[in-house]
C-alpha cells in the first residue's frame, strides 16, 4: 500500500498527550494511512483519540534533549500536543504526519477508503435531486422550467447538469447568455417566494468590459422574469468602485438603462484572502491565553470577523427584504457568483422560508445553494486558520455563512429544528471528513471523481434517526413567519461553539443543554401519558383535538378503537 512508504514510524510508546482542560495522558501513538490514533493504556479510563490527517492544518516540532514535542493544529481549530520520547521517532512521526496531511491527490483522501459501519437507510447522494425540488416549484408556478443544457458541463463547468430557468427562454438563448456571463454562469432560479411569487436568481458578473458590451439575450432573460409594472433589484456584492474596476479585466455590471425594470444595489461583502486573514487573526486572539481584557477586545476588533458577519447577514437581510417587503424580485451576483453570492442567496432563504430552518430543508439548502451551485469547497477549505500557505483561493466563506446562521439561531432559539451542534458538524466536515460530500469544487469534478459511487454521503449518516436526534433543537416549534434578525453590533456575538470550543470547559453549558432536553421530554412524556389515559377513559368523547399536540393528534389516526 502506498501510504506505507510515507509512514516511517508507525507506532510510538510512552507518548504523552496534552489537551486544554484535561489532564495529560500517557499512551501509544499509531499512524495509519488516514488517521493519527492515540490510545491511553490506563486500564481504568481507556480512551482513544482518532484524528484524521486531513484535519491537520499545521504541525510544529521542538526538542528538549531527546524528548521531542509535536504541536498539532487542526482545521477544526483544536490544538493538541504530543510529547514523544526519542528524537528519531519524533522526527519520523512529524514528517509522516506532514506528508499524510498534505496529500495532493483527492482520490487518496479518506472518503475513498471509508467503509461505513452503519446501514444506509436513505442514500444522501440521491436525497436532494433537482428534479424533485422542481416538482414542488412546478406545483406553484408554471413560469419556470428545468434545462439540461449543461448536462455535460460544457456551457458552465461550475454549474450542475440541471438548473431552473424562465420557461420563456430557450436553450439557444441560454447559450448566448452564458457567453456574456463570467464562467458561463447564466442567471438561474435560486428561490421562489410563495407568498407573493417574487423570485431570487443568481448569476455571475456580466462581461461588459471597458467598452460597455451589451447582450440582448441577457437583457431578455433577466427582464422576462418580471411581469409588467414589476420591479426588481440587482444586488451586486461588490462596491461600486470594485465593480467599475472589474470592467478593466473584462468584467462589469449591468447598466440600468438596458434593464429598465431593475435597480442596482451595491452591497459590498469581503472575499478571499481578506476573509482568510480575518479568520487567522480571530483564532490567534482566541488562543491568546493572557488575562488581559483590553488586549482581547482589541484583537477581536482588529480581526474584523464580526464585521464580516454583520456585512454578510445585512446583505442577506436586504435581499430578503426586497422580496418580502418590497414585492420585488432579486438577482444576486458578485464576480464569479460562487462565494458571496451564495452566502446571500442562502441566508435570504433561511430568513424567508421556514422549510430552510428544518434539518432536512437546511441540508437541501446546502446541497442546492452551495454544492450544486458550485462553491469550490475543496479550494476554499483546503486549509484553515493555522495554515502558513496563504493561497489566494483559501477562504472561510462557508464558515462565515454558518456563523451567520448561528447568529440567527441565537436570536430565534425556538425557530430552528437543528441545533448549534449541527452547524459545528457541518463546519468540521467541510474541512475534513470521512464522507465525500464536500470533496471537489463543483458537480463536474464530483461526477468525474465518481463520488456518489465511491464515497459515502454525509447526509446518509446524518439522517439516520439515531444520529439525527443529536442535531435536534429541543426548543423547536415550527415558526411559519419570516424571521428578521437584528444586525446591530450589540446583537451579534462571537460564535463560542466554534472559536472558543477547545479553550473553554464545556461541561456547564452541555449540562444546560441536557437540562433543556429533559424539561422538554418530561413534558412530551406526560402529554402522551395523558393522551393514553384519557383515550382509554372515553375515546373521542370529551377530549377535543385541540387539547392535544399535533403530534398526538396525528397519532390518533393510527390508534386502534378501544373495545
Amino acid at each position: 500500500m502506498e501510504f506505507a512508504e510515507l509512514i516511517k514510524t508507525p507506532r510510538a510508546d510512552n507518548v504523552v498527550l496534552h489537551r486544554p482542560f484535561e489532564p495529560a495522558v500517557e499512551g501509544t501513538l499509531c499512524l495509519t494511512g488516514h488517521h493519527l490514533i492515540f490510545s491511553s493504556r490506563r486500564q481504568d479510563n481507556a480512551e482513544e483519540l482518532w484524528l484524521l490527517h486531513s484535519n491537520i492544518d499545521s504541525i510544529e516540532k521542538r526538542f528538549v534533549g531527546s524528548l521531542g514535542t509535536i504541536v498539532i493544529k487542526c482545521k477544526d481549530l483544536r490544538i493538541i500536543q504530543l510529547d514523544i520520547p526519542g528524537m528519531e521517532e519524533c522526527l519520523n512521526i512529524a514528517s509522516s504526519i506532514e506528508a499524510l496531511s498534505t496529500l495532493d491527490s483527492v482520490t487518496l483522501m479518506y472518503p475513498f477508503f471509508y467503509r461505513p459501519m452503519f446501514e444506509i437507510v436513505e442514500d444522501g447522494w440521491s436525497a436532494f435531486l433537482p428534479e424533485k425540488e422542481f416538482e414542488f416549484l412546478n406545483a406553484l408556478t408554471d413560469e419556470w422550467r428545468l434545462t439540461y443544457i449543461n448536462k455535460d458541463f460544457s456551457i458552465c463547468p461550475s454549474y450542475p447538469p440541471v438548473v431552473t430557468v424562465p420557461k420563456s427562454i430557450d436553450d439557444e438563448t441560454l447559450q448566448k447568455v452564458a457567453v456574456f456571463r463570467h464562467g458561463g454562469r447564466f442567471p438561474v432560479l435560486s428561490y421562489y417566494h410563495k407568498k407573493n411569487g417574487m423570485v431570487m436568481m443568481r448569476t455571475s458578473q456580466p462581461l461588459t468590459g471597458t467598452n460597455g458590451k451589451r447582450c440582448k439575450d441577457d437583457e431578455k432573460l433577466i427582464n422576462s422574469t418580471l411581469g409588467p409594472g414589476r420591479r426588481g433589484y440587482i444586488i451586486d456584492t461588490r462596491s461600486l468602485s470594485a465593480a467599475q474596476q472589474a470592467r478593466a479585466k473584462g468584467g462589469g455590471f449591468e447598466v440600468e438603462v438596458y434593464y429598465p425594470q431593475w435597480r442596482r444595489i451595491h452591497k459590498s461583502v469581503e472575499r478571499f484572502n481578506i476573509l482568510q486573514e480575518s479568520l487567522i487573526k480571530l483564532v490567534e486572539a482566541c488562543n491568546d491565553q493572557s488575562h488581559n481584557m483590553d488586549r482581547w477586545l482589541s484583537k477581536l476588533e482588529a480581526s474584523n470577523w464580526l464585521t464580516h458577519v454583520k456585512e454578510i447577514l445585512t446583505a442577506g437581510c436586504l435581499a430578503a427584504q426586497c422580496i418580502d417587503r418590497e414585492d420585488a424580485s432579486v438577482l444576486v451576483h458578485g464576480t464569479e457568483g460562487t462565494d458571496s453570492t451564495l452566502q446571500i442567496t442562502s441566508l435570504a432563504q433561511i430568513i424567508l422560508d421556514p422549510d430552510c430552518r428544518t434539518i432536512r430543508g437546511f441540508e437541501s439548502l446546502i446541497v442546492r445553494e452551495w454544492l450544486q451551485a458550485g462553491h469550490p469547497f475543496q479550494q476554499r477549505c483546503a486549509q484553515s486558520a493555522y495554515s502558513n500557505s496563504k493561497q489566494k483561493w483559501e477562504a472561510p466563506v462557508f464558515l462565515l455563512f454558518l456563523d451567520c446562521v448561528w447568529q440567527m439561531l441565537h436570536q430565534f432559539p425556538c425557530s430552528f429544528e437543528f441545533n448549534e451542534h449541527f452547524l459545528v458538524t457541518l463546519f468540521e466536515h467541510a474541512y475534513a471528513s470521512q464522507f465525500g460530500t464536500f470533496l471537489g469544487n463543483n458537480e463536474n469534478e464530483r461526477s468525474k471523481l465518481k463520488l456518489p459511487q465511491k464515497t459515502m454521503s454525509l447526509w446518509s449518516w446524518v439522517n439516520q434517526p439515531e444520529e439525527l436526534k443529536n442535531f435536534k433543537n429541543p426548543l423547536f416549534e415550527a415558526n411559519s413567519l419570516v424571521i428578521w434578525p437584528s444586525v446591530a453590533p450589540q446583537s451579534l456575538q462571537l460564535w463560542e461553539g466554534v472559536f472558543l470550543r477547545w479553550n473553554r470547559p464545556s461541561k456547564f453549558l452541555d449540562e444546560a443543554q441536557e437540562e433543556m432536553r429533559k424539561i422538554i421530554s418530561d413534558n412530551r412524556v406526560l402529554q402522551e401519558k395523558l393522551w393514553d389515559n384519557s383515550y382509554f377513559l372515553s375515546p373521542f368523547d370529551w377530549l377535543p383535538k385541540e387539547a392535544v399536540s399535533y403530534k398526538l393528534r396525528s397519532a390518533l389516526c393510527f390508534c386502534p378503537i378501544a373495545g
Binding site: D294, W296, L481, V482, E511, I519, Q527, S538, W542, E546
Partner: protein, 619 residues
C-alpha cells in the same frame, strides 16, 4: 407627548439627566436619560412649554428630602401586618446562624449598639471571640471612618472566613497594637491556618498615595502572619466615567462593528468587571481551597469591598445563588454594612461625583456568572434587572439612605415597603427553568474561568440596551422553558385527576351505570375549557405563536397562564410573544439598528475625570 411620558411611567427618581436640544421645525426636543438605561426623547411643540417641563423635571428628578421619594407615597395596598412580614423576609441573624455562627470562634458583639463605634456599621456585628471590646474600639480608631474588621462570610467546613474593614490609618509608619491584635484574632479563629490574607482591592498606586494623607495599607512587618495582596480595582470615579463611555457606545446610531467593539474596549467597562470578578475568585479560592481567612478592604470599605465580598460569597456558597439567598447577600454585604445607596445612586440631590455604578457592577458580575454556569442560579436575568431598577426607583425602602442608622432614624420599615417581599411574591417570574435543587452544578464552589479566551465576558445588552427590544434575541429560551414546565405541572395534575377518575370508573363499572350522568357533566366541563383554548389556536395554522403554546395543554386556566408569562410589568426584558416580534414590522428597522439620536455626553460629569487622582485620595 407630555401625557405620553406619564403613561410610559418614568419615575422621576429614574431620571439621570435631561438635555434640551436645539429646536426643530416640529418642536423642542427634550432628551431624558434614565438610570435604568432608558433614553427617551420628547418633542414638545412650544418652546416655552418645553422649558417649563425641563425646569420641573430638573426639580422633580432631584429631590432634596427623603420624604419626597416615591416609597413614602407608594402604597401596594398591604396591611400593616403584611408590611411587617415583608420586612422580616430577609433576616440577617438567621443568615449568620445558617453559617454556623455564633460558635466557639465567633460571636456577636454589641460594641456598636447605638452606633457608638461606627455609624456606618450595623448594630449587630460579628467578630472573633478573642477580640475584646477594647481591641475592637482600638482597631476602629486606626481605621478610616472607624470601620473595623468584621465578619462577612464564614465557611463552616474549614473555619475560613471573609472579613471586611476600611483601610488602616497607617500613613508611612503608624502602628496600632489593637489593630494588630484584631487581625491576630481573625487568624486565631481559623486554627487550621497559620496566616491570613489581607486583600487591598485598590490599585497599588492609589493605596500608596493614601499614605500621604495618613491612611494606607498594612505593613506586613508589623502584623504577624499576614500575606498582603493588592488587587487593582479602580475607584468610583473611574467606574462612573467608564459606564458613561459605554453608554455612549450603546446610544450610537447604527454603529459599525468596529465602532462598537472599539468603544466597548475604550470604555474599559468589561476590564473593570473582570477585575472585580478576579478579586472575588482570588478570595473564594483562598477560602475554599487553601482554607485561609481573608480580610478585605479598599479605602472606606463600602464600595469595592462590598463588591468583592459578595462576589466571593456567591462563588463559595450555593445558598446565595438561590433567590432568597441573593436577597440576603445584598442585605448583608451592601445594605447592612453601609453601602452609600443614596450617594452612589443619586436618590437625593447631591454631589454628582459621589454617583457611581458600584452595585450595577456587582449585578453584572452575577450575570456573567450565570452565562458561564447556566444551571447554577435559581433566579434568571429578569430578577437581576428588576433589582437594578429598584435600586434607583426608590419605590421600596430597602435601599434608602447611606446606612442602617439613617434608615432607623427615618423609620423606613414603618413607613415604606420591602422590595424583597414584592419580588418574592412574584417569584414565578424570576425562576431559572434550568435550576434544579438536585442538579450537581449547583453544589459547592463555582470555579469560573479567568482568561477572556476561556470565558467570554460579554456585553450585557439585556441590561444596557434593555429598552431596545429589537436588539435582543427575539425568542426567550427562559420564558419558553418556563411555559413548558408550567404546562408539565398542569399535565401532572391533570393526570392525577384522570387516574382518580379511572380508578373510580373501574369501581363504577362493577356498580353499573349509576354515575354516568355525573361523568358527562365532567366531560362537558372539560370540553368547554378546551374549546376556549382552541380559540387561541384556531383560524389558520398559527402554530408558530408561542402564545398559543399553552393551549396545547388540555387544562383549564389558560388565561391565567398567558397572563403569568405576559405580566403587565413593563420591565420584563423579554417578550414571549413571538408573533409580535418576528412579524414584518420588526425586521426592516433592524437593518438600520437603533433610532435614538446620539447626543453629546452627560453634562454634569465632565469634570470628574481630571480630578480623579486627587479624589482617589479621599475615597
Amino acid at each position: 407627548m407630555l401625557v405620553h411620558l406619564f403613561t410610559i411611567q418614568v419615575l422621576h427618581s429614574q431620571i439621570s439627566s435631561i438635555e434640551k436640544q436645539a429646536t426643530t421645525a416640529t418642536g423642542c426636543p427634550l432628551l431624558i436619560r434614565c438610570k435604568n438605561f432608558q433614553v427617551i426623547q420628547l418633542v414638545i411643540p412650544q418652546e416655552r412649554d418645553c422649558h417649563d417641563v425641563y425646569i420641573s423635571l430638573i426639580r422633580l428628578a432631584r429631590p432634596v428630602k427623603y420624604e419626597e421619594l416615591y416609597c413614602f407615597s407608594f402604597n401596594p395596598k398591604l396591611d400593616k401586618e403584611e408590611r411587617e412580614k415583608g420586612w422580616k423576609l430577609v433576616n440577617l441573624s438567621e443568615e449568620y446562624n445558617r453559617m454556623g455562627i455564633p460558635n466557639s470562634y465567633w460571636q456577636i458583639s454589641d460594641v456598636n449598639r447605638e452606633y457608638g463605634v461606627c455609624d456606618s456599621y450595623p448594630t449587630e456585628v460579628y467578630v472573633p471571640k478573642s477580640a475584646t471590646a477594647h481591641i475592637i474600639v482600638g482597631s476602629s480608631k486606626f481605621r478610616s471612618r472607624r470601620r473595623f474588621p468584621a465578619l462577612s462570610y464564614y465557611c463552616k467546613d474549614n473555619n475560613a472566613s471573609i472579613c471586611r474593614s476600611s483601610q488602616p490609618l497607617s500613613g508611612f509608619s503608624a502602628r496600632c497594637l489593637e489593630d494588630e491584635q484584631m487581625l491576630q484574632a481573625i487568624r486565631k479563629a481559623n486554627p487550621g491556618s497559620d496566616f491570613i490574607y489581607v486583600v487591598d482591592t485598590r490599585p497599588k498606586l492609589n493605596a500608596m498615595a493614601n499614605r500621604a494623607a495618613g491612611k494606607g495599607y498594612e505593613n506586613e512587618d508589623n502584623y504577624s502572619n499576614i500575606k498582603f495582596q493588592f488587587i487593582g480595582i479602580e475607584n468610583i470615579h473611574v467606574m462612573r466615567n467608564s459606564l458613561q463611555k459605554m453608554l455612549e457606545v450603546c446610544e450610537m446610531k447604527s454603529p459599525s462593528m468596529s465602532d462598537f467593539l472599539w468603544g466597548l474596549e475604550n470604555s474599559g467597562w468589561l476590564k473593570h468587571i473582570k477585575a472585580i470578578m478576579d478579586a472575588g475568585i482570588f478570595i473564594a479560592k483562598a477560602v475554599a481551597e487553601e482554607g485561609v481567612s481573608v480580610l478585605v478592604h479598599c479605602s472606606d470599605g463600602w464600595d469595592r469591598t462590598a463588591q468583592v465580598c459578595s462576589v466571593a460569597s456567591l462563588l463559595l456558597d450555593p445558598h446565595y445563588r438561590t433567590m432568597k439567598g441573593f436577597m440576603v447577600l445584598i442585605e448583608k454585604d451592601w445594605v447592612s454594612f453601609g453601602h452609600k445607596f443614596n450617594h452612589r445612586y443619586g436618590n437625593l440631590d447631591g454631589d454628582p461625583k459621589e454617583i457611581s455604578p458600584v452595585i450595577d457592577q456587582f449585578i453584572e458580575c452575577v450575570w456573567q456568572l450565570m452565562e458561564q454556569f447556566p444551571c447554577a442560579f435559581e433566579f434568571n436575568e429578569r430578577f437581576l434587572i428588576h433589582i437594578q431598577h429598584h435600586i434607583y426607583s426608590c419605590q421600596f425602602g430597602n435601599f434608602l439612605c447611606n446606612s442602617q442608622k439613617e434608615r432607623r432614624e427615618l423609620k423606613i420599615q414603618e413607613r415604606t415597603y420591602s422590595l424583597w417581599a414584592h419580588l418574592w411574591k412574584n417569584r414565578a417570574d424570576y425562576l431559572n427553568p434550568l435550576y434544579r435543587p438536585d442538579h450537581r452544578q449547583i453544589w459547592g464552589t463555582l470555579h469560573p474561568q479567568m482568561a477572556p479566551c476561556n470565558f467570554l465576558y460579554k456585553f450585557w445588552s439585556g441590561m444596557y440596551n434593555r429598552f431596545e427590544k429589537g436588539l435582543h434575541p427575539r425568542q426567550s429560551v427562559t420564558d419558553y422553558l418556563m411555559a413548558v414546565k408550567e404546562e408539565t405541572q398542569q399535565l401532572e395534575e391533570e393526570l392525577a385527576v384522570l387516574g382518580e377518575r379511572l380508578a373510580n370508573l373501574q369501581k363504577l363499572q362493577l356498580n353499573g351505570n349509576k354515575v354516568k350522568s355525573k361523568q358527562q357533566d365532567r366531560s362537558k366541563e372539560l370540553a368547554l375549557s378546551a374549546s376556549s383554548n382552541s380559540l387561541a389556536n384556531t383560524p389558520q395554522e398559527y402554530s408558530n405563536d408561542l402564545k398559543s403554546f399553552p393551549s396545547r395543554s388540555p387544562s383549564q386556566g389558560d388565561e391565567e397562564d398567558s397572563a403569568l408569562i405576559l405580566t403587565q410589568d413593563n420591565l420584563k426584558s423579554s417578550d414571549p410573544d413571538l408573533s409580535a416580534n418576528s412579524d414584518q414590522e420588526s425586521g426592516v428597522e433592524d437593518l438600520s439598528c437603533r433610532s435614538p439620536s446620539a447626543g453629546g455626553c452627560l453634562p454634569s460629569e465632565d469634570s470628574g475625570k481630571d480630578s480623579d487622582e486627587a479624589v482617589c485620595l479621599a475615597v
